[in-house]
């Protein structure tokens, strides 16, 4: 068995990102889309931490950036879920193809 290197983490990040991308493109439920976006954020965080660990050992800049990403993701999901609740209260649906208020 080979030792775990940088490319293993990069492939894992790519796989998670692709799963999240597929979910964001195909889910009908808006909460499913939000969850898929969270998966993509996590893939980016894995890449940041892996580059930090393997290309700049001893430094913490990549991990600090990942912490900022986590914070922004938390803010995004809070506002997003509040918007989902407001939309649901007005249109009583959670499916994105029914969100056509601006279509006229």
């Amino acid at each position: 068995m080979t030792t775990i290197g940088l490319s293993h983490y990069l492939v894992l990040g790519a796989v998670l990102f692709l799963i999240g991308l597929f979910g964001a493109l195909t889910r009908r439920n808006i909460i499913g889309i939000l969850m898929s976006i969270e998966l993509m954020f996590n893939a980016a965080n894995i890449n940041l931490a892996a580059f930090n660990h393997h290309l700049h050992p001893g430094g913490v800049a990549g991990m600090t950036t990942a912490l900022f990403v986590i914070t922004v993701a938390a803010a995004e999901v809070v506002v997003g879920l509040a918007l989902v609740l407001a939309i649901y209260r007005n249109s009583a649906t959670a499916y994105v193809e029914d969100f056509h208020l601006l279509k006229g």
Binding site: I4, L18, H53, A75
Partner: protein, 162 residues
């Protein structure tokens, strides 16, 4: 050897949870699988010896965001949703987009070899704190402003009479 086992098991948990998130029909189960996947990512951070990131991931993502999503999923939706299709009819095109993106990411990944291999495991919490209050002080203050704006926005949008 131990690191290899830890990495593969945590990666399997993360990928399996992510697959369940995008494929399950019941949104509540989907949200619970999201928590599982986020916990797996936390394990991957532990494999990278990122101790503070591991704790932050567990506290913020698994303990905060996943629970919040479960709450909102239970607030909205009807029982008829369980019989509806949860995937739109363009999944073939989405698969194509994912394949092309995956090919590009694979080419990018092949630039980087195995990396440096063994690196020393050291505690990083102190260094992260010093960096945040030193070199990264301005982004640190700005992110608190973003959090304040998100708080106000959430309160504003979830009022009754909007």
């Amino acid at each position: 050897m131990l690191e290899t086992i830890a990495f593969y098991s945590m990666a399997a948990v993360a990928v399996a949870g992510a697959l369940l998130v995008v494929t399950l029909r019941n949104t509540v189960h989907s949200a619970l699988a999201l928590g599982l996947s986020l916990a797996g990512v936390a394990g991957v951070f532990a494999c990278l010896s990122a101790d503070f990131l591991f704790a932050a991931q567990l506290l913020i993502y698994v303990g905060g965001i996943a629970i919040l999503i479960v709450f909102v999923v239970m607030l909205l939706g009807r029982t008829t949703d369980l019989h509806n299709r949860q995937v739109n009819e363009l999944w073939g095109a989405a698969l194509l987009v994912c394949a092309i993106t995956g090919a590009g990411l694979w080419r990018l990944t092949s630039f980087f070899g195995a990396g440096t291999g063994d690196t020393p495991h050291a505690a990083q919490t102190r260094a992260i704190g010093l960096l945040m209050l030193g070199e990264y002080a301005v982004p640190f203050e700005l992110i608190s402003l973003v959090l304040l704006a998100a708080l106000l926005g959430a309160v504003f949008f979830s009022r009754k009479e909007i």
